[in-house]
Protein backbone atom coordinates (compact mmCIF):
# COMPACT_ATOMS: atom_id res chain seq x y z
CA UNK A 1 0.00 0.00 0.00
CA UNK A 2 1.32 3.43 -0.87
CA UNK A 3 1.98 6.18 1.66
CA UNK A 4 -0.84 8.24 0.12
CA UNK A 5 -3.28 5.38 0.58
CA UNK A 6 -2.14 4.95 4.16
CA UNK A 7 -2.73 8.63 4.75
CA UNK A 8 -6.21 8.36 3.23
CA UNK A 9 -7.20 5.56 5.60
CA UNK A 10 -9.68 6.93 8.12
CA UNK A 11 -9.30 6.71 11.86
CA UNK A 12 -10.44 3.37 13.25
CA UNK A 13 -12.32 4.88 16.18
CA UNK A 14 -14.33 7.08 13.85
CA UNK A 15 -15.10 4.19 11.51
CA UNK A 16 -16.08 1.97 14.42
CA UNK A 17 -18.50 4.61 15.72
CA UNK A 18 -20.00 5.16 12.28
CA UNK A 19 -20.34 1.52 11.27
CA UNK A 20 -21.23 -0.18 14.53
CA UNK A 21 -25.00 0.00 13.97
CA UNK A 22 -24.78 -1.33 10.43
CA UNK A 23 -22.44 -4.18 11.30
CA UNK A 24 -24.48 -5.06 14.35
CA UNK A 25 -27.70 -5.08 12.33
CA UNK A 26 -26.11 -7.32 9.72
CA UNK A 27 -24.75 -9.77 12.30
CA UNK A 28 -28.04 -9.75 14.20
CA UNK A 29 -29.95 -10.78 11.10
CA UNK A 30 -27.31 -13.31 10.16
CA UNK A 31 -27.23 -15.17 13.50
CA UNK A 32 -30.72 -14.27 14.68
CA UNK A 33 -29.73 -14.02 18.31
CA UNK A 34 -29.27 -10.76 20.14
CA UNK A 35 -26.58 -11.76 22.66
CA UNK A 36 -24.63 -13.86 20.15
CA UNK A 37 -24.85 -10.99 17.68
CA UNK A 38 -23.39 -8.59 20.22
CA UNK A 39 -20.53 -10.96 20.98
CA UNK A 40 -19.81 -11.61 17.33
CA UNK A 41 -19.97 -7.90 16.49
CA UNK A 42 -17.44 -7.17 19.21
CA UNK A 43 -15.24 -10.02 17.94
CA UNK A 44 -15.51 -8.69 14.41
CA UNK A 45 -14.40 -5.22 15.50
CA UNK A 46 -11.50 -6.67 17.46
CA UNK A 47 -10.43 -8.58 14.39
CA UNK A 48 -10.84 -5.46 12.29
CA UNK A 49 -8.69 -3.50 14.70
CA UNK A 50 -5.96 -6.12 14.52
CA UNK A 51 -6.02 -6.01 10.72
CA UNK A 52 -6.66 -2.32 10.32
CA UNK A 53 -3.35 -1.78 8.52
CA UNK A 54 -4.55 -4.14 5.82
CA UNK A 55 -7.62 -2.10 5.09
CA UNK A 56 -7.34 -0.43 1.69
CA UNK A 57 -10.05 2.21 1.12
CA UNK A 58 -9.47 2.00 -2.64
CA UNK A 59 -10.61 -1.61 -2.77
CA UNK A 60 -13.73 -1.45 -0.64
CA UNK A 61 -15.59 0.84 1.70
CA UNK A 62 -15.04 0.48 5.44
CA UNK A 63 -18.58 -0.85 5.84
CA UNK A 64 -18.07 -3.59 3.23
CA UNK A 65 -14.71 -4.52 4.77
CA UNK A 66 -16.17 -4.68 8.27
CA UNK A 67 -19.19 -6.69 7.09
CA UNK A 68 -16.87 -9.14 5.35
CA UNK A 69 -14.99 -9.62 8.62
CA UNK A 70 -18.26 -9.96 10.50
CA UNK A 71 -19.47 -12.56 8.00
CA UNK A 72 -16.28 -14.57 8.45
CA UNK A 73 -16.69 -14.38 12.23
CA UNK A 74 -20.33 -15.44 11.97
CA UNK A 75 -19.45 -18.36 9.72
CA UNK A 76 -16.82 -19.46 12.24
CA UNK A 77 -19.56 -19.29 14.87
CA UNK A 78 -21.88 -21.40 12.70
CA UNK A 79 -19.11 -23.96 12.20
CA UNK A 80 -18.48 -24.13 15.92
CA UNK A 81 -22.20 -24.56 16.55
CA UNK A 82 -22.36 -27.23 13.90
CA UNK A 83 -19.50 -29.13 15.55
CA UNK A 84 -21.13 -28.74 18.94
CA UNK A 85 -24.37 -30.11 17.62
CA UNK A 86 -22.62 -33.12 16.08
CA UNK A 87 -20.85 -33.82 19.34
CA UNK A 88 -24.16 -33.66 21.15
CA UNK A 89 -25.67 -36.00 18.57
CA UNK A 90 -22.86 -38.44 19.17
CA UNK A 91 -23.47 -38.41 22.94
CA UNK A 92 -27.27 -38.31 22.61
CA UNK A 93 -27.46 -34.94 24.25
CA UNK A 94 -29.26 -33.35 21.38
CA UNK A 95 -30.53 -29.89 22.06
CA UNK A 96 -32.41 -27.96 19.49
CA UNK A 97 -30.15 -25.72 17.50
CA UNK A 98 -32.53 -22.90 17.73
CA UNK A 99 -32.61 -19.19 18.16
CA UNK A 100 -32.83 -18.89 21.92
CA UNK A 101 -33.25 -15.16 22.16
CA UNK A 102 -34.55 -13.77 18.91
CA UNK A 103 -33.92 -10.08 18.56
CA UNK A 104 -34.02 -8.56 15.14
CA UNK A 105 -35.11 -5.10 16.08
CA UNK A 106 -36.75 -3.14 18.83
CA UNK A 107 -40.37 -2.51 18.00
CA UNK A 108 -40.82 -5.31 15.50
CA UNK A 109 -44.11 -7.17 15.78
CA UNK A 110 -43.86 -10.64 17.34
CA UNK A 111 -45.18 -12.11 14.05
CA UNK A 112 -42.40 -10.47 12.09
CA UNK A 113 -39.78 -11.51 14.68
CA UNK A 114 -41.07 -15.06 14.49
CA UNK A 115 -41.20 -15.06 10.71
CA UNK A 116 -37.65 -13.71 10.53
CA UNK A 117 -36.49 -16.41 12.93
CA UNK A 118 -38.02 -19.06 10.68
CA UNK A 119 -35.97 -17.91 7.69
CA UNK A 120 -32.56 -19.36 6.96
CA UNK A 121 -29.41 -17.40 7.82
CA UNK A 122 -28.75 -16.90 4.13
CA UNK A 123 -32.20 -15.42 3.57
CA UNK A 124 -31.89 -13.12 6.56
CA UNK A 125 -28.42 -12.10 5.38
CA UNK A 126 -29.66 -10.89 2.01
CA UNK A 127 -32.53 -9.02 3.70
CA UNK A 128 -30.08 -7.35 6.08
CA UNK A 129 -27.77 -6.26 3.30
CA UNK A 130 -30.39 -5.11 0.81
CA UNK A 131 -33.10 -3.78 3.15
CA UNK A 132 -31.37 -2.64 6.33
CA UNK A 133 -27.95 -1.63 4.98
CA UNK A 134 -29.51 -0.58 1.67
CA UNK A 135 -26.69 -1.89 -0.46
CA UNK A 136 -27.35 -2.11 -4.17
CA UNK A 137 -27.84 -5.51 -5.80
CA UNK A 138 -24.44 -5.38 -7.51
CA UNK A 139 -22.55 -4.83 -4.25
CA UNK A 140 -24.48 -7.52 -2.43
CA UNK A 141 -23.97 -10.01 -5.25
CA UNK A 142 -20.24 -9.32 -5.21
CA UNK A 143 -20.14 -9.54 -1.44
CA UNK A 144 -21.93 -12.90 -1.36
CA UNK A 145 -20.10 -14.26 -4.38
CA UNK A 146 -23.25 -14.89 -6.36
CA UNK A 147 -24.73 -13.46 -9.52
CA UNK A 148 -26.87 -10.33 -9.45
CA UNK A 149 -29.98 -12.17 -10.60
CA UNK A 150 -29.46 -14.87 -7.96
CA UNK A 151 -29.16 -12.13 -5.37
CA UNK A 152 -32.38 -10.43 -6.49
CA UNK A 153 -34.16 -13.78 -6.58
CA UNK A 154 -32.98 -14.65 -3.10
CA UNK A 155 -34.19 -11.32 -1.72
CA UNK A 156 -37.53 -11.48 -3.43
CA UNK A 157 -38.17 -15.04 -2.21
CA UNK A 158 -37.03 -14.21 1.30
CA UNK A 159 -39.32 -11.18 1.52
CA UNK A 160 -42.19 -13.12 0.02
CA UNK A 161 -41.70 -15.94 2.48
CA UNK A 162 -41.47 -13.46 5.30
CA UNK A 163 -44.68 -11.70 4.26
CA UNK A 164 -46.52 -14.98 3.86
CA UNK A 165 -45.51 -16.17 7.30
CA UNK A 166 -46.43 -12.89 8.87
CA UNK A 167 -49.80 -13.03 7.12
CA UNK A 168 -50.44 -16.60 8.20
CA UNK A 169 -49.43 -15.75 11.79
CA UNK A 170 -51.77 -12.79 11.79
CA UNK A 171 -54.59 -14.90 10.40
CA UNK A 172 -53.89 -17.59 12.98
Amino acid sequence: MTVAALEKRPDFAQVAREQLSAVHAYVSYLVGNRSVAEDLTATAFEKALRNWTRFDPRRASARTWLCAIARSVALDHFRAEDRRRRREDAYALRQEFEIAEPGFGDGLSPELESALASLSAGEREVIALRVLLEWDAETVARFLGISRSACSMRLSRALEKLSERVASDVEA
Partner: protein, 384 residues
Protein backbone atom coordinates in the same frame (compact mmCIF):
# COMPACT_ATOMS: atom_id res chain seq x y z
CA UNK B 1 -49.43 -5.09 11.63
CA UNK B 2 -52.74 -5.50 9.91
CA UNK B 3 -52.92 -6.45 6.26
CA UNK B 4 -55.79 -6.05 3.83
CA UNK B 5 -56.95 -9.19 2.04
CA UNK B 6 -56.01 -9.85 -1.63
CA UNK B 7 -52.98 -7.60 -1.28
CA UNK B 8 -50.40 -7.85 -4.05
CA UNK B 9 -47.44 -10.03 -2.87
CA UNK B 10 -45.02 -7.41 -4.18
CA UNK B 11 -46.72 -4.68 -2.16
CA UNK B 12 -46.71 -6.94 0.86
CA UNK B 13 -42.99 -7.52 0.48
CA UNK B 14 -42.37 -3.81 0.18
CA UNK B 15 -44.41 -3.13 3.23
CA UNK B 16 -42.48 -5.81 5.15
CA UNK B 17 -39.23 -4.27 4.04
CA UNK B 18 -40.42 -0.83 5.19
CA UNK B 19 -41.35 -2.35 8.51
CA UNK B 20 -37.94 -3.93 8.89
CA UNK B 21 -36.20 -0.67 7.98
CA UNK B 22 -38.27 1.16 10.57
CA UNK B 23 -37.12 -1.11 13.36
CA UNK B 24 -33.51 -2.07 12.80
CA UNK B 25 -31.57 -3.88 15.54
CA UNK B 26 -29.76 -1.41 17.78
CA UNK B 27 -26.52 -2.24 19.53
CA UNK B 28 -26.78 -2.31 23.28
CA UNK B 29 -25.06 0.27 25.47
CA UNK B 30 -22.71 -2.46 26.64
CA UNK B 31 -21.63 -3.19 23.07
CA UNK B 32 -21.23 0.49 22.26
CA UNK B 33 -19.01 1.06 25.26
CA UNK B 34 -17.07 -2.11 24.49
CA UNK B 35 -16.37 -0.93 20.98
CA UNK B 36 -15.54 2.57 22.27
CA UNK B 37 -12.95 1.08 24.59
CA UNK B 38 -11.62 -1.02 21.78
CA UNK B 39 -11.37 1.98 19.49
CA UNK B 40 -9.54 4.01 22.12
CA UNK B 41 -6.80 1.40 22.18
CA UNK B 42 -6.23 2.11 18.54
CA UNK B 43 -4.72 -0.16 15.96
CA UNK B 44 -1.44 -1.81 16.89
CA UNK B 45 1.61 -0.06 15.55
CA UNK B 46 3.28 -2.27 13.06
CA UNK B 47 6.73 -2.09 11.64
CA UNK B 48 7.07 -0.88 8.08
CA UNK B 49 8.01 -4.36 6.88
CA UNK B 50 4.79 -5.92 8.18
CA UNK B 51 2.82 -3.16 6.54
CA UNK B 52 4.07 -4.24 3.15
CA UNK B 53 1.06 -5.48 1.32
CA UNK B 54 0.62 -7.23 -1.96
CA UNK B 55 -0.32 -4.89 -4.72
CA UNK B 56 -0.29 -4.99 -8.49
CA UNK B 57 2.17 -2.15 -8.70
CA UNK B 58 4.57 -4.01 -6.44
CA UNK B 59 4.18 -7.14 -8.52
CA UNK B 60 5.01 -5.21 -11.68
CA UNK B 61 8.00 -3.60 -9.97
CA UNK B 62 9.18 -6.97 -8.70
CA UNK B 63 8.90 -8.44 -12.21
CA UNK B 64 10.77 -5.50 -13.71
CA UNK B 65 13.48 -5.86 -11.06
CA UNK B 66 13.74 -9.59 -11.72
CA UNK B 67 14.06 -8.90 -15.45
CA UNK B 68 16.73 -6.25 -14.86
CA UNK B 69 18.66 -8.62 -12.60
CA UNK B 70 18.38 -11.37 -15.23
CA UNK B 71 19.69 -9.07 -17.96
CA UNK B 72 22.50 -7.80 -15.73
CA UNK B 73 23.34 -11.36 -14.76
CA UNK B 74 23.35 -12.40 -18.42
CA UNK B 75 25.69 -9.51 -19.31
CA UNK B 76 28.06 -10.38 -16.46
CA UNK B 77 27.92 -14.08 -17.31
CA UNK B 78 28.51 -13.24 -20.98
CA UNK B 79 31.52 -11.09 -20.12
CA UNK B 80 32.92 -13.86 -17.94
CA UNK B 81 32.47 -16.35 -20.75
CA UNK B 82 34.38 -14.15 -23.19
CA UNK B 83 37.13 -16.29 -24.72
CA UNK B 84 40.67 -15.10 -24.14
CA UNK B 85 42.40 -13.83 -27.26
CA UNK B 86 44.91 -16.12 -28.93
CA UNK B 87 48.47 -15.11 -28.49
CA UNK B 88 50.89 -16.09 -31.18
CA UNK B 89 54.36 -15.83 -29.85
CA UNK B 90 57.38 -15.92 -32.04
CA UNK B 91 58.92 -18.78 -30.12
CA UNK B 92 55.83 -20.98 -30.18
CA UNK B 93 55.10 -21.11 -33.83
CA UNK B 94 52.74 -23.77 -35.13
CA UNK B 95 53.82 -26.87 -36.91
CA UNK B 96 51.09 -26.26 -39.45
CA UNK B 97 50.91 -22.82 -40.83
CA UNK B 98 47.68 -21.84 -42.47
CA UNK B 99 46.72 -18.65 -44.21
CA UNK B 100 43.18 -17.75 -45.09
CA UNK B 101 42.04 -14.67 -46.79
CA UNK B 102 39.16 -13.50 -48.85
CA UNK B 103 35.63 -12.28 -48.31
CA UNK B 104 34.83 -12.08 -44.66
CA UNK B 105 37.40 -14.63 -43.61
CA UNK B 106 39.95 -14.10 -40.90
CA UNK B 107 43.12 -12.52 -42.05
CA UNK B 108 45.25 -15.27 -40.70
CA UNK B 109 44.70 -18.32 -38.67
CA UNK B 110 47.22 -20.46 -36.90
CA UNK B 111 46.41 -24.05 -36.16
CA UNK B 112 47.96 -26.37 -33.58
CA UNK B 113 50.60 -25.23 -31.22
CA UNK B 114 53.26 -27.80 -31.97
CA UNK B 115 56.46 -25.90 -32.60
CA UNK B 116 57.68 -25.93 -36.16
CA UNK B 117 60.91 -27.74 -36.72
CA UNK B 118 63.84 -25.55 -37.46
CA UNK B 119 64.68 -24.93 -41.07
CA UNK B 120 61.31 -23.75 -42.24
CA UNK B 121 61.40 -20.29 -43.66
CA UNK B 122 58.95 -18.80 -41.24
CA UNK B 123 59.89 -15.21 -41.70
CA UNK B 124 59.02 -15.54 -45.35
CA UNK B 125 55.83 -17.31 -44.47
CA UNK B 126 54.60 -14.78 -41.97
CA UNK B 127 55.54 -11.93 -44.22
CA UNK B 128 53.56 -13.56 -46.97
CA UNK B 129 50.64 -14.01 -44.63
CA UNK B 130 50.68 -10.35 -43.76
CA UNK B 131 50.94 -9.34 -47.38
CA UNK B 132 48.01 -11.53 -48.23
CA UNK B 133 46.07 -10.22 -45.29
CA UNK B 134 46.74 -6.65 -46.17
CA UNK B 135 45.73 -7.26 -49.75
CA UNK B 136 42.61 -9.30 -49.33
CA UNK B 137 41.44 -8.33 -45.88
CA UNK B 138 41.55 -4.62 -46.46
CA UNK B 139 38.07 -4.47 -47.86
CA UNK B 140 35.26 -6.84 -47.87
CA UNK B 141 34.46 -8.06 -51.23
CA UNK B 142 37.65 -6.35 -51.60
CA UNK B 143 38.85 -9.69 -52.57
CA UNK B 144 37.18 -9.20 -55.88
CA UNK B 145 39.44 -6.30 -56.54
CA UNK B 146 42.53 -8.01 -55.23
CA UNK B 147 45.34 -8.17 -57.68
CA UNK B 148 46.87 -11.40 -58.66
CA UNK B 149 50.02 -10.48 -56.78
CA UNK B 150 48.21 -10.93 -53.52
CA UNK B 151 48.44 -14.72 -53.68
CA UNK B 152 49.89 -16.00 -50.45
CA UNK B 153 53.52 -16.88 -50.74
CA UNK B 154 54.58 -19.53 -48.30
CA UNK B 155 57.70 -21.46 -48.83
CA UNK B 156 59.49 -24.02 -46.77
CA UNK B 157 62.86 -23.10 -48.19
CA UNK B 158 64.90 -26.21 -48.81
CA UNK B 159 63.11 -28.20 -46.18
CA UNK B 160 60.62 -30.88 -47.12
CA UNK B 161 57.12 -29.60 -46.41
CA UNK B 162 53.70 -30.26 -47.81
CA UNK B 163 52.02 -27.23 -49.30
CA UNK B 164 48.29 -27.15 -49.88
CA UNK B 165 46.60 -24.19 -51.49
CA UNK B 166 42.89 -23.69 -51.98
CA UNK B 167 42.05 -20.85 -54.32
CA UNK B 168 38.74 -19.49 -55.48
CA UNK B 169 38.91 -17.14 -58.44
CA UNK B 170 36.23 -15.21 -60.17
CA UNK B 171 36.06 -15.09 -63.95
CA UNK B 172 33.74 -13.00 -66.04
CA UNK B 173 31.64 -15.55 -67.90
CA UNK B 174 31.29 -19.18 -68.93
CA UNK B 175 33.53 -18.83 -72.00
CA UNK B 176 36.19 -17.25 -69.87
CA UNK B 177 35.71 -20.05 -67.34
CA UNK B 178 36.44 -22.77 -69.90
CA UNK B 179 39.44 -20.88 -71.23
CA UNK B 180 40.89 -20.20 -67.77
CA UNK B 181 40.33 -23.80 -66.69
CA UNK B 182 42.32 -25.01 -69.65
CA UNK B 183 45.01 -22.43 -68.92
CA UNK B 184 45.28 -23.60 -65.30
CA UNK B 185 45.80 -27.17 -66.42
CA UNK B 186 48.37 -25.97 -68.93
CA UNK B 187 50.23 -24.06 -66.19
CA UNK B 188 50.39 -27.17 -64.01
CA UNK B 189 51.77 -29.25 -66.84
CA UNK B 190 54.22 -26.57 -67.92
CA UNK B 191 55.69 -26.63 -64.41
CA UNK B 192 56.22 -30.39 -64.59
CA UNK B 193 53.06 -30.98 -62.60
CA UNK B 194 49.85 -32.74 -63.46
CA UNK B 195 46.10 -32.51 -63.12
CA UNK B 196 44.65 -34.83 -60.44
CA UNK B 197 41.06 -34.02 -61.22
CA UNK B 198 39.04 -31.54 -63.25
CA UNK B 199 35.37 -30.82 -63.28
CA UNK B 200 33.54 -28.11 -65.16
CA UNK B 201 29.97 -27.24 -64.26
CA UNK B 202 28.68 -24.75 -66.79
CA UNK B 203 24.89 -24.52 -66.95
CA UNK B 204 23.24 -22.49 -69.70
CA UNK B 205 21.90 -20.09 -67.07
CA UNK B 206 23.23 -19.20 -63.67
CA UNK B 207 26.63 -19.52 -62.12
CA UNK B 208 29.26 -21.66 -63.81
CA UNK B 209 32.03 -23.31 -61.81
CA UNK B 210 35.06 -25.42 -62.47
CA UNK B 211 36.99 -27.41 -59.90
CA UNK B 212 40.60 -28.45 -60.38
CA UNK B 213 43.05 -30.33 -58.23
CA UNK B 214 46.57 -29.75 -59.44
CA UNK B 215 49.90 -31.15 -58.33
CA UNK B 216 53.02 -29.13 -59.00
CA UNK B 217 56.59 -29.62 -57.80
CA UNK B 218 57.04 -27.94 -54.41
CA UNK B 219 60.01 -26.02 -55.70
CA UNK B 220 57.80 -24.39 -58.32
CA UNK B 221 54.66 -24.02 -56.21
CA UNK B 222 55.09 -20.27 -55.74
CA UNK B 223 55.40 -19.72 -59.46
CA UNK B 224 52.34 -21.91 -59.97
CA UNK B 225 50.32 -19.99 -57.40
CA UNK B 226 51.25 -16.65 -58.87
CA UNK B 227 50.45 -17.72 -62.42
CA UNK B 228 47.19 -19.39 -61.44
CA UNK B 229 46.04 -16.45 -59.33
CA UNK B 230 46.47 -14.26 -62.41
CA UNK B 231 43.67 -16.19 -64.08
CA UNK B 232 40.96 -14.26 -62.25
CA UNK B 233 40.06 -12.13 -59.28
CA UNK B 234 40.79 -13.82 -55.98
CA UNK B 235 37.65 -14.44 -53.97
CA UNK B 236 39.32 -16.54 -51.32
CA UNK B 237 42.56 -18.31 -50.72
CA UNK B 238 43.85 -20.67 -48.14
CA UNK B 239 47.42 -21.82 -48.10
CA UNK B 240 48.75 -24.28 -45.57
CA UNK B 241 52.23 -25.64 -45.07
CA UNK B 242 52.96 -28.80 -43.13
CA UNK B 243 56.45 -29.89 -42.32
CA UNK B 244 57.14 -33.50 -43.35
CA UNK B 245 60.90 -33.49 -42.97
CA UNK B 246 60.79 -34.67 -39.36
CA UNK B 247 58.44 -37.51 -40.28
CA UNK B 248 60.61 -38.59 -43.19
CA UNK B 249 63.78 -38.47 -41.07
CA UNK B 250 62.13 -40.55 -38.36
CA UNK B 251 60.92 -43.01 -40.96
CA UNK B 252 64.47 -43.20 -42.41
CA UNK B 253 65.88 -44.04 -39.00
CA UNK B 254 63.27 -46.73 -38.43
CA UNK B 255 63.94 -48.17 -41.88
CA UNK B 256 67.69 -48.30 -41.22
CA UNK B 257 67.10 -50.04 -37.88
CA UNK B 258 64.75 -52.51 -39.52
CA UNK B 259 67.29 -53.22 -42.26
CA UNK B 260 69.95 -53.92 -39.65
CA UNK B 261 67.56 -56.18 -37.81
CA UNK B 262 66.70 -58.06 -41.02
CA UNK B 263 70.40 -58.50 -41.89
CA UNK B 264 71.07 -59.83 -38.42
CA UNK B 265 68.13 -62.24 -38.65
CA UNK B 266 69.25 -63.47 -42.08
CA UNK B 267 72.73 -64.07 -40.73
CA UNK B 268 71.40 -66.03 -37.77
CA UNK B 269 69.17 -68.10 -40.02
CA UNK B 270 72.10 -69.03 -42.25
CA UNK B 271 73.74 -70.88 -39.33
CA UNK B 272 73.12 -74.66 -39.32
CA UNK B 273 73.10 -75.05 -35.54
CA UNK B 274 69.61 -73.65 -35.08
CA UNK B 275 66.82 -75.92 -33.92
CA UNK B 276 63.80 -76.18 -36.18
CA UNK B 277 61.59 -74.39 -33.60
CA UNK B 278 63.99 -71.46 -33.18
CA UNK B 279 64.41 -71.26 -36.93
CA UNK B 280 60.69 -71.08 -37.54
CA UNK B 281 60.32 -68.37 -34.88
CA UNK B 282 63.09 -66.32 -36.47
CA UNK B 283 61.55 -66.80 -39.90
CA UNK B 284 58.23 -65.46 -38.62
CA UNK B 285 59.99 -62.44 -37.13
CA UNK B 286 61.93 -61.90 -40.32
CA UNK B 287 58.76 -62.01 -42.40
CA UNK B 288 57.10 -59.51 -40.06
CA UNK B 289 60.07 -57.14 -40.19
CA UNK B 290 60.22 -57.33 -43.97
CA UNK B 291 56.51 -56.50 -44.21
CA UNK B 292 56.98 -53.60 -41.82
CA UNK B 293 59.98 -52.39 -43.79
CA UNK B 294 58.07 -52.55 -47.04
CA UNK B 295 55.16 -50.61 -45.52
CA UNK B 296 57.43 -47.96 -44.05
CA UNK B 297 59.31 -47.53 -47.32
CA UNK B 298 56.02 -47.06 -49.17
CA UNK B 299 54.84 -44.53 -46.60
CA UNK B 300 58.15 -42.69 -46.73
CA UNK B 301 57.96 -42.50 -50.49
CA UNK B 302 54.47 -41.08 -50.19
CA UNK B 303 55.58 -38.53 -47.57
CA UNK B 304 58.52 -37.49 -49.69
CA UNK B 305 56.18 -37.09 -52.62
CA UNK B 306 53.84 -35.06 -50.44
CA UNK B 307 56.71 -32.77 -49.68
CA UNK B 308 57.90 -32.63 -53.24
CA UNK B 309 54.54 -31.97 -54.81
CA UNK B 310 52.29 -29.09 -53.75
CA UNK B 311 48.53 -29.55 -54.05
CA UNK B 312 46.55 -26.67 -55.47
CA UNK B 313 42.79 -26.91 -55.31
CA UNK B 314 41.38 -24.33 -57.64
CA UNK B 315 37.80 -23.23 -58.03
CA UNK B 316 36.92 -20.92 -60.86
CA UNK B 317 33.50 -19.35 -60.67
CA UNK B 318 31.42 -16.78 -62.47
CA UNK B 319 29.53 -15.90 -59.24
CA UNK B 320 30.48 -14.43 -55.90
CA UNK B 321 31.13 -16.14 -52.63
CA UNK B 322 28.25 -15.88 -50.23
CA UNK B 323 28.68 -12.89 -47.97
CA UNK B 324 29.94 -13.98 -44.61
CA UNK B 325 28.97 -11.96 -41.58
CA UNK B 326 31.21 -9.05 -40.83
CA UNK B 327 33.21 -9.34 -37.64
CA UNK B 328 30.86 -7.95 -35.00
CA UNK B 329 31.88 -5.01 -32.87
CA UNK B 330 32.68 -5.31 -29.17
CA UNK B 331 29.24 -3.99 -28.23
CA UNK B 332 27.54 -6.42 -30.60
CA UNK B 333 29.56 -9.27 -29.14
CA UNK B 334 28.61 -8.17 -25.64
CA UNK B 335 24.93 -8.01 -26.67
CA UNK B 336 25.19 -11.44 -28.29
CA UNK B 337 26.77 -12.92 -25.19
CA UNK B 338 24.18 -11.24 -22.98
CA UNK B 339 21.43 -12.59 -25.21
CA UNK B 340 22.98 -16.06 -25.00
CA UNK B 341 23.06 -15.76 -21.23
CA UNK B 342 19.49 -14.53 -21.13
CA UNK B 343 18.40 -17.34 -23.43
CA UNK B 344 20.00 -19.88 -21.15
CA UNK B 345 18.32 -18.24 -18.14
CA UNK B 346 14.98 -18.37 -19.96
CA UNK B 347 15.52 -21.99 -20.91
CA UNK B 348 16.40 -22.82 -17.28
CA UNK B 349 13.32 -20.97 -16.11
CA UNK B 350 11.18 -22.78 -18.70
CA UNK B 351 12.69 -26.07 -17.62
CA UNK B 352 11.92 -25.25 -14.01
CA UNK B 353 8.39 -24.31 -14.96
CA UNK B 354 7.95 -27.56 -16.87
CA UNK B 355 9.20 -29.53 -13.89
CA UNK B 356 7.06 -27.54 -11.47
CA UNK B 357 3.96 -27.38 -13.66
CA UNK B 358 2.40 -30.68 -12.48
CA UNK B 359 2.82 -29.55 -8.89
CA UNK B 360 1.48 -26.09 -9.69
CA UNK B 361 -1.48 -27.66 -11.45
CA UNK B 362 -2.11 -29.92 -8.47
CA UNK B 363 -1.85 -26.94 -6.12
CA UNK B 364 -4.29 -24.95 -8.28
CA UNK B 365 -6.73 -27.87 -8.36
CA UNK B 366 -6.38 -28.30 -4.62
CA UNK B 367 -7.01 -24.59 -4.07
CA UNK B 368 -10.08 -24.76 -6.32
CA UNK B 369 -11.37 -27.85 -4.53
CA UNK B 370 -10.85 -26.21 -1.14
CA UNK B 371 -12.57 -23.06 -2.28
CA UNK B 372 -15.50 -25.00 -3.67
CA UNK B 373 -15.73 -27.03 -0.47
CA UNK B 374 -15.68 -23.85 1.62
CA UNK B 375 -18.44 -22.34 -0.52
CA UNK B 376 -20.56 -25.47 -0.17
CA UNK B 377 -20.02 -25.50 3.56
CA UNK B 378 -20.93 -21.82 3.83
CA UNK B 379 -24.07 -22.42 1.82
CA UNK B 380 -25.00 -25.35 4.05
CA UNK B 381 -24.40 -23.31 7.19
CA UNK B 382 -26.39 -20.36 5.91
CA UNK B 383 -29.30 -22.53 4.83
CA UNK B 384 -30.05 -23.47 8.43
Amino acid sequence: MSRPENENPRDRSEETARELRKHPPRPSEALISRIERLAERGPAKRSHSTQLQFSRRKLVLALAAALAISVAGAIVAGELRQPSSTVVAGHALPRTLSVQSGIGTDVSQFKESVPLASGTDLSDATTAVRKAAAASGSANPGATSTTSNSAAQITSGKRLAELRAVLTLKVENSDELSRKTAQAMKIARSLSGYVVSAQVDSPSRGIANSYLVLKVPAARSQEALIRISELGKILSQQVSLEDVKATVTAQGKTIAALKREIASLEQTLSQQTLTSQARSQLQVKLARDRAKLSSLQTQRTKDILRGRLATITLTLTTGDLPKLPIEPSRIQKAIDRAWDGLSSEISWAAMGLIVASPFLLLAALLALALRSRRRREERRLLEK
